[in-house]
């Protein structure tokens, strides 16, 4: 169904564009309703047939992926959920993808958060992603959720020397010392990678300034599209890499699928949202090209 829809629609669109090109070669302009139809098809077909495109990761995204990928198995990765429900549609695909990737690589996963409004989101990710897709992983051994603590960068400043000053237990009330995963963990400095997923304050920037830089721990993350340009100055010296907006999420998801056949069936909201976008962008560009060909040929003929 999927592939059939994809093939039919792409053939339709490509055929239509070729037809337009041929028409343009004779110097004729395209009527507006035809453009509208192409645009409508370009957006609705991916929606209806769930068509997706594999995104090739840009270097800044690939850097994050490679970092997680090439850490030795069993490395400790911390993911911080620094966003609230309103931002979730844009950045949640990122934290989900990070979790999947880390668990597939058998890294030890530490989840926490700096946003009061995002407290339930970590627990939700544990239920939705970890327990359902990785039933063999044991809480407290392979992953742990230590939850939210108030204090923004103050929290970071404390846990960069000692987790236990702030966190006595995980979210389920189990003593950190009783958890195997925390056996020889003292502070953030014992982590091999810090990943912050966020869209405001505190977020990626605070993790760089208060944890990654002073603790000399590799830091990476993802942020909402609006704040992404403000993060570029930190890359690549202070920030391993960055996922910007839904496009960044889509690139990471694609990369994950490419390397891990077991994720073939995983939901990829980022990639799904990019489907209509990509086709629409390609369509606009195709029209620009066709339009210019028609324009130049028309001019040539006139002169």
């Amino acid at each position: 169904m999927n592939n059939l829809g994809l093939i039919i629609s792409l053939v339709l669109i490509a055929g239509g564009l070729i037809w337009l090109l041929v028409r343009s070669l004779s110097g004729r302009e395209v009527e507006r309703p035809i453009i509208f139809i192409f645009m409508g098809v370009a957006v609705s077909v991916p929606l209806l047939f769930n068509i997706t495109f594999s995104e090739k990761a840009t270097p800044i995204v690939k850097a994050v992926f490679d970092k997680v990928e090439y850490l030795p198995e069993g490395s400790r990765v911390l993911i911080s959920f620094d966003y609230g429900p309103s931002m979730a549609p844009e950045v949640q695909p990122m934290s989900d993808a990070f979790i999947r990737h880390c668990l597939a690589k058998n890294h030890k996963l530490f989840l926490m958060g700096l946003w009061a409004t995002g407290q339930s989101l970590n627990a939700d990710a544990v239920e939705r992603v970890i327990k359902r897709e990785f039933p063999e992983k044991v809480g407290g051994v392979d992953y742990v959720n230590i939850g939210y603590k108030a204090g923004s960068q103050g929290v970071l400043n404390v846990i960069i020397t000692d987790f236990r000053k702030l966190y006595a237990t995980d979210v389920d009330g189990r003593d950190l010392d009783s958890l195997p995963i925390f056996q020889d963990i003292k502070s953030l400095k014992d982590m091999d990678l810090l990943l912050s997923v966020g869209g405001g304050f505190p977020g990626v920037k605070e993790w760089v300034q208060f944890a990654g830089d002073p603790g000399n721990v590799p830091t990476a993350g993802g942020s909402a599209a609006v704040t992404t340009p403000l993060m570029y100055p930190y890359y690549p010296r202070q920030l391993v890499g960055l996922l910007g907006g839904i496009k960044g999420a889509a690139e990471y998801e694609s990369e994950l699928k490419k390397h891990y056949p077991q994720f073939d069936k995983m939901p990829t909201p980022g990639v799904a949202m990019m489907g209509p976008q990509t086709l629409a962008h390609l369509m606009v560009m195709a029209f620009i090209v066709v339009g210019n060909i028609a324009f130049f040929l028309g001019k040539k003929r006139d002169s």
Binding site: V30, R32, I35, F36, F38, M39, G40, V43, F53, S54, E55, K56, A57, T58, P59, P229, Y232, K247, Q277, T278, A280, H281, L282, M283, V284, M285, F287, I288, V290, G291, N292, F295, F296
Partner: protein, 225 residues
Amino acid sequence: MKRRIPLLITFVVGSVLILSVFFPPAESWGEDFSIFFDIIAVFAFFLGGGNLVRIHGKKLFTRKSDWGFSVVTLAGFFVMLLAGLFKVGNPAGMAGDVTAAGSFFQMLYEWIFNPLGASMYALLAFYVASASYRAFRAKNVDATILLVAAFIILLGRTPLGMYATAWIPDSFSILQIPNLAIWIMTSPNMAGQRAIMIGIALGVVSMSLRLILGVERTYLGVDSE
């Protein structure tokens, strides 16, 4: 008198508001005046609504072409007006918020106003396509620059841009489309925006001054007196 007093009012109100910014005891005046403005605007609603009813009523009674559609406008207007002024079906009665969920007013908003507005807005996706087809032509140097900048940014937002330029070595990575797109957004785009904003700010200051000094007065219709 008909001409002097309005100019005097503009002058006094304008200069008082400018000076109030510098004196903390008067700091809140600007805010108060904005509230006054909103209240005056409510009176203006009578003028607006009256004008709407008059125009469409005239079409209806003179049986101008398309008078039937004027009936639709008037019906929609009065139904909505009555639903809002009397808070029909409001769960909290007259004390409830006019836009409270469950009221007839809010229902009309949710199922007619909203879909119509969202669809109008969504038309933009189509017009963006037709405008780029029509306008992005390499007619001259300026238009070509416009076209190329738009094209690079568009490419940078699709996987195609990445695939096409991934072979470029790291030491020339600025030439990779996604990087180039970011650079355009943060450098020349920023410069252009800033130049426009500075210009606008100066224009506003100068225009405001002309208004306060009474040099610019077309809006009062006083040219003729």
